[in-house]
């Protein structure tokens, strides 16, 4: 029997009605001030599309029932609860800080087309300090045409992550849960005004914001 970890949350006094990947009843394991939501399984789940979608549905339901939740990566399995206690306890303070950041907030995902190629090589001769290097690296991975949209939604965005995949950029925003509809409408209006092709996905649990 192994233990599948679904998420970390702040203390919640509730019994979960959601069932796990194997149909198992989910339970809460307390590790200091944190609740770890787990299910006992007799096998390791395979990363198939069906399992990933089901996993996301489970995590989404847990997130909807909690004010602060950090989703675990699919396939996080520990052999027993003492191992879980050990691994969580080591990063307890970091998890508490992240839970404070994501409390009552949702992740929105923006897929932005036409971001242009990433400049992988920075010119070392023109860079004289670490700060200059980091600024150049940030600029190389930035999405300049996204700036008007960023400015339009700045009031809601607590944190931002950007990933580039060729000419497609993914921008993750952490925003208040209650502002999702307004945020979506402002993004779509700003994109239309700026002539940018994008797609807004979410709200979802803050997968992209679990690390500091």
């Amino acid at each position: 029997m192994s233990v599948c970890v679904y998420a970390l949350a702040t203390r919640v006094a509730r019994r979960w009605t959601v069932r796990g990947l194997a149909g198992e009843r989910l339970k809460t394991v307390r590790v200091g001030p944190l609740d770890v939501i787990v299910g006992e399984m007799t096998y390791r789940p395979k990363p198939t599309a069906a399992n990933l979608l089901q996993y996301d549905r489970i995590v989404t339901q847990l997130w909807e029932q909690s004010s602060a939740l950090l989703p675990a990566r699919f396939g996080t399995i520990v052999t027993d609860l003492s191992e879980l206690d050990f691994t969580i306890a080591m990063r307890r303070d970091a998890f508490r800080r992240r839970l404070a950041v994501v409390r009552n907030r949702a992740q929105m995902t923006l897929l932005v087309a036409g971001a242009g190629p990433v400049r992988r090589r920075l010119r070392p001769r023109s860079i004289r300090s670490g700060t200059e290097y980091l600024r150049a690296a940030q600029a190389a991975h930035g999405v300049p045409q996204f700036d008007p949209i960023r400015a339009a939604v700045r009031r809601w965005v607590k944190a931002e992550r950007v990933q580039r995949h060729g000419s497609l950029a993914t921008v993750y925003h952490l925003i208040p849960r209650r502002s999702v509809d307004r945020y979506r409408s402002v993004v779509e209006d700003a994109a239309r005004a700026a002539g940018i092709r994008l797609r807004v996905l979410g709200p979802r649990s803050p997968y992209a914001f679990v690390d500091e």
Partner: protein, 85 residues
């Protein structure tokens, strides 16, 4: 009429299709989220002997495998062959 760049076409296709949300789910669940790891030091008579790093991680292959230099190198890697020097 100029032909659009291939990468731009792929990006446009991702935006247009319903699979965009599936891609988001796969990307999130496999490459993001909390990863649990721990460190154990095995000691004997107050002397640290072995340091073990525990990591429980399942993620997309391109996150953990070294980046191949070219398409042909990636193809060779997929077939289990060594990339050319």
């Amino acid at each position: 009429m100029p032909r659009p760049a291939r990468s731009r076409t792929v990006a446009a296709r991702v935006l247009d299709e319903d699979e965009a949300s599936l891609l988001d789910v796969v990307d999130s669940a496999l490459t993001k989220g909390v990863v649990l790891r721990g460190d154990v030091t095995l000691a004997l008579a107050h002397v640290d002997l072995v340091h073990v790093r525990l990591a429980m991680l399942l993620c997309a292959a391109d996150r953990v495998l070294p980046q191949a230099k070219s398409t042909s190198a990636r193809r060779r890697l997929r077939r289990g062959l060594r990339p050319p020097r």
